[in-house]
């Protein structure tokens, strides 16, 4: 309790420094002013607002909608050949024309991109973005993990804070769409695919309830941490037994959910049957256990990945693996069961001392060779999702072809998330999530010059640029 109060107080102090104090001050003066003065102020504010809207340089945080023509650009379409000098037209939030000779609609705002490149916005398919603001010291900002092991009904989209500072920081580095998911327990909940723009969760949502996350039971001899004596372990054979038990429980749960669905369907047809009891957790499972929507299984080592493949084939669900350190070793099983991999281990250390030093840098290249469908993700809580291009680029440094590296954070991610009809490449009809850069988008020295999400031109500002502006000239 005491700790909570302390935290609250500290957080309060933090907020004050930025906005609260300032706003209160202005507002109280406004209230104290006479009626005519108040009208006067309102009128001036109105004029300012109108002017701001007509002035292209003034943009609010949710960006500027309109018709845009990005001209003289190198267009990296990702799905097709790169166009060395062409135009991209954006209308009503979509890409309406791409090519060397695209016609520019009258009234379109022109963006001369001479010397610049246009890319599709990057997609990170494995984050907790929006669910956690500050990792340590501010537990009130963390909404990643529900209590208990079974939370199939927990939906990330309802926990995502559209106004987290992580949104702007991430998108100004070229990431426009992310999957955000809960973690913890056996079934943490349902992941959402969101665009990194919007004042509400609904405005952000691309696929609000995309998939169910399951921490696939694995063999672990770690049984808990004792603050006095350190990590506790159990016998390996015992660990195997425990894993098998958890797996059986999971299968039983799937069966229960199927029975739940059937009884509900039967009742819908025949009201003389007993009414099934409300069970949100069972209800949430139904589309997933029936293979209508994907289940995202966490798994890293070969035996666990093969375990997922076996489980998927037995239960006939639609599976995706997240993690995937040794997925390349189980290529046969993964391909047979049509399981794609969201690889989150570029910034991880090899587990065993005698693993090759570049074991996890080189894994994407091995997956590509083995013909596994994969994408690269940061697996990050939110703050460092902006490093996505470097995760892909590092895979490129260790064997993955450069164009495959780019696809692994654009088109491939879109395909795995089932949104490649709308996102992931520069094609007519797709959502205008576009990034204009002065170089290779995956390089750390490349600068983003323009950013569009759903056709809205967004300001390249963030908490970081604001603090930079506030202090850069302090003497």
């Amino acid at each position: 309790m005491k700790k909570e109060i302390l935290t609250q107080r500290r957080k309060g102090a933090k907020t004050q420094r930025f906005s609260k104090n300032k706003d209160d001050f202005g507002f109280s003066i406004f209230l104290r002013a006479s009626a005519s003065l108040r009208l006067c102020v309102l009128f001036i504010l109105f004029v300012c607002a109108v002017q701001a809207q007509s002035d292209g340089s003034q943009q609010n945080q949710t960006g500027k909608a309109g018709t845009f023509a990005i001209t003289n650009a190198r267009i990296v379409t990702v799905s097709g050949a790169t166009i060395e000098n062409g135009t991209v037209i954006i209308q009503n939030g979509k890409i309406t024309a791409v090519g060397a000779n695209a016609t520019i609609p009258s009234g379109a705002e022109r963006i001369d991109a001479k010397g610049l490149s246009v890319y599709p916005g990057m997609i990170d398919a494995g984050t907790n973005l929006g669910l956690a603001e500050i990792g340590q010291g501010a537990p009130a900002t963390i909404d990643i993990t529900e209590t208990g092991d079974m939370n199939s009904n927990a939906k990330a989209i309802l926990g995502i804070n559209p106004h987290t500072s992580h949104v702007n920081v991430t998108r100004v580095n070229g990431i426009t769409t992310v999957l955000s998911m809960p973690t913890g327990g056996i079934i943490p909940g349902q992941a959402a695919v969101i665009n990194l723009n919007g004042s509400t969760q609904a405005e952000m949502g691309v696929v609000p309830t995309f998939g169910l996350v399951i921490n696939f039971p694995r063999i672990t001899t770690f049984s808990g941490f004792n603050p006095l004596t350190g990590p506790q372990t159990i016998e390996f054979s015992e660990a195997v037994k425990q894993r098998d038990k958890r797996l059986e429980d999971l299968k039983k749960l799937f069966k229960d959910a199927e029975n739940f669905a059937r009884s509900r369907e039967a009742y819908a047809k025949d009201k003389t049957l007993p009414m099934p009891t409300t069970d949100l957790k069972m209800d949430a499972l139904v589309p997933y256990i029936r293979g209508e929507k994907p289940i995202i299984f966490t798994a890293e080592r070969e035996r666990d990945i093969r375990g997922v493949a076996k489980f998927v084939s037995e239960t006939k669900v639609k599976g995706i693996i997240i993690g995937g350190q040794e997925a390349w070793k189980a290529a046969d099983d993964l391909k047979k069961n049509n399981i794609a991999v969201i690889y989150t281990n570029i910034y991880s250390l090899p587990v065993q001392d005698d693993d090759a030093y570049d074991y996890l840098f080189a894994a994407p290249s091995k997956m590509a060779q083995a013909g596994i469908k994969f994408c690269i993700s940061t697996g990050d809580g939110g703050a460092e999702v902006r490093d996505l291009p470097y995760h892909a680029g590092l895979a490129g440094a260790y064997g993955l072809a450069k164009d495959e590296a780019l696809k692994s954070v654009t088109l491939y991610a879109a395909q795995i998330l089932g949104i490649s009809d709308r996102l992931g490449s520069i094609e007519v009809g797709k959502m205008a999530n576009l990034v204009v850069t002065d170089g290779d988008m995956l390089e750390p020295r490349t600068n983003i010059k323009y950013l569009f999400i759903k056709g809205r031109l967004l300001p390249l500002t963030s908490r970081h640029t604001e603090l930079y502006d506030a202090f850069k000239d302090r003497k």
């Binding site: 990792g135 010291g137 603050p227 030093y357 260790y398 750390p444 020295r445 930079y468 850069k472």
Partner: protein
């Protein structure tokens, strides 16, 4: 007569350590036709570097080496000084002596593990030296170690003997321990607030000043009895005398500034602020005192006090004339310090060479080892990394890393050795003792208790 003794002494040395002398006499390496990023004097294309006896002997075009020199063809490759990480905990078997808030008596030198695989992984990323720091649980932590990553050598070879001694200080959340639950059954440790942290440090330095006075008085023969040695205060006296570098962990600019003011009051200098993610708010104050900052390129938001961290920190500090280094504080991030330096160029427009210095020459200066390492200049140790592409490119990787001319990482060799290692692993895994009993193996024998016969009273009075 004296000459004869000297001669005999030298001969004795030669006889005692033939390997060392021979190894040094032999080495001559010629790196040919590289793009050299010196981190001191700019960039040179198609340039050779001649290494003799572990030192950079010449830099230039078309250099000649003796016939038995090892030649490395670096055409199309980039050569940089070895990266230096000014904040690492690699090799440390223990990081925090949690028990007290002032633990200046403990030394990381005592817990170095030269077999830590992190060392090899760091070498494979071009890192050759590091500042191994005590943790940040204490307002005044332990004494640090400045090492070169001479993987495969005995631990005493790692320590850079002429590096000035240092000590870790820490401020803020980690010291207050308010983010961590105290061990059940124990009372929380003082201090619990930033007020308390400053008082703990002030108290320690007041005691250190008095302790120094007692020794000064004794040495000036004002007193007759030598003071009792105090291992806690001795390092702090060295700080007061300017003989020991202070590396002060902290995040918020206000508390870092408070420490600087306290140091002003006691007349010592803080060598580096570590992390210092808000240092951009007090850049002029740092510059005036000649205090350096060793920071992350862009990490932020992982804790409350890191919420105002911005990637422009390095640029603002650099423009104010503060000596900046980019550190890892992580066995993982140490593998991509080159990309962290590249980010500094992106955020705020620090020039390329200045950004490179932030992971090479600048940390060397902060650690007082810049006379021997940190840049590619004649006379310096041959601590060098060779890259397949510009190290600021995300597609680059390290081909070779050497320390004092000794090749400690060679990617080609590493790749060829892998099949062999894989076989060895398979053989070992099949051994009975390496399989858990659950899958048919036998448990490894539990070592029998020794010294039964000469147990002393402390073991319970049994014979």
């Amino acid at each position: 007569m004296k000459k004869i003794y000297t001669f005999l002494f030298v001969m004795l040395l030669v006889a005692a350590s033939p390997n060392i002398l021979l190894a040094q006499a032999k080495t001559e390496i010629l790196i040919r036709n590289a793009t050299v990023l010196t981190a001191a004097k700019g960039r040179f294309e198609n340039t050779d570097i001649l290494i003799q006896n572990g030192k950079i002997a010449r830099i230039g075009k078309n250099l000649k080496a003796s016939s038995n020199a090892q030649t490395i063809d670096a055409s199309g490759k980039f050569v940089t000084p070895g990266i230096i990480d000014c904040h690492s905990h690699a090799m440390l078997d223990a990081i925090n002596e949690f028990s007290f808030s002032v633990t200046s008596m403990v030394r990381t030198d005592d817990v170095l593990d030269p077999t830590d695989i992190s060392i090899y992984r760091a070498l494979a990323s071009g890192v050759t030296a590091a500042n191994l720091l005590h943790g940040s649980a204490n307002s005044i932590g332990g004494q640090n170690s400045v090492v070169k990553f001479k993987y495969g050598r005995p631990v005493e070879d790692f320590l850079i003997r002429d590096a000035p001694s240092g000590i870790k200080f820490a401020l803020g959340e980690n010291v207050k321990r308010t983010n961590f639950n105290p061990t059940p059954g124990t009372t929380p440790r003082y201090p619990r607030t930033r007020m308390g942290v400053m008082e703990v440090i002030r108290d320690a330095f007041l005691r250190a000043r008095d302790y120094k006075q007692t020794w000064d008085d004794f040495r000036a023969k004002k007193t007759n009895v030598p003071p009792r040695r105090d291992l806690e205060l001795e390092p702090l006296v060295e700080v007061l005398e300017g003989k020991r570098l202070v590396h002060a962990h902290g995040y918020r600019s206000d508390e870092h500034l408070n420490l600087l003011l306290l140091a002003d009051e006691f007349g010592f200098k803080i060598a580096t602020l570590q992390h210092a993610l808000e240092a951009y708010k007090i850049a002029p104050e740092l510059a005036r005192r000649g205090t350096g900052a060793s920071i992350f390129a862009d990490n932020w938001s992982y804790k409350l006090e890191a919420y105002d961290s911005i990637p422009y920190n390095a640029a603002i500090l650099w423009k104010n004339g503060v000596l900046v280094s980019i550190n890892s504080d992580s066995d993982e991030r140490i593998r991509r310090l080159n990309l962290d330096a590249a980010k500094v160029e992106k955020y705020g427009g620090v020039p390329e060479e200045e950004a490179l210095k932030m992971i090479t020459l600048n940390p060397a200066k902060q650690l007082g080892i810049d006379k021997r390492t940190g840049s590619i200049e004649v006379g310096k140790d041959a601590d060098i990394a060779i890259w397949n592409a510009h190290p600021f490119s995300v597609y680059s990787h390290v081909e070779m890393t050497m320390i004092e001319g000794e090749l400690l990482f060679d990617r080609a060799k590493d790749m060829t050795k892998r099949a062999e290692l894989e076989k060895e692993r398979e053989t070992l895994e099949k051994l009975d003792v390496n399989r858990p009993p659950g899958s048919g193996g036998t448990s490894p024998p539990i070592p029998k208790e020794k010294r039964q016969a000469d147990r002393d009273e402390a073991d319970g009075g049994k014979p």
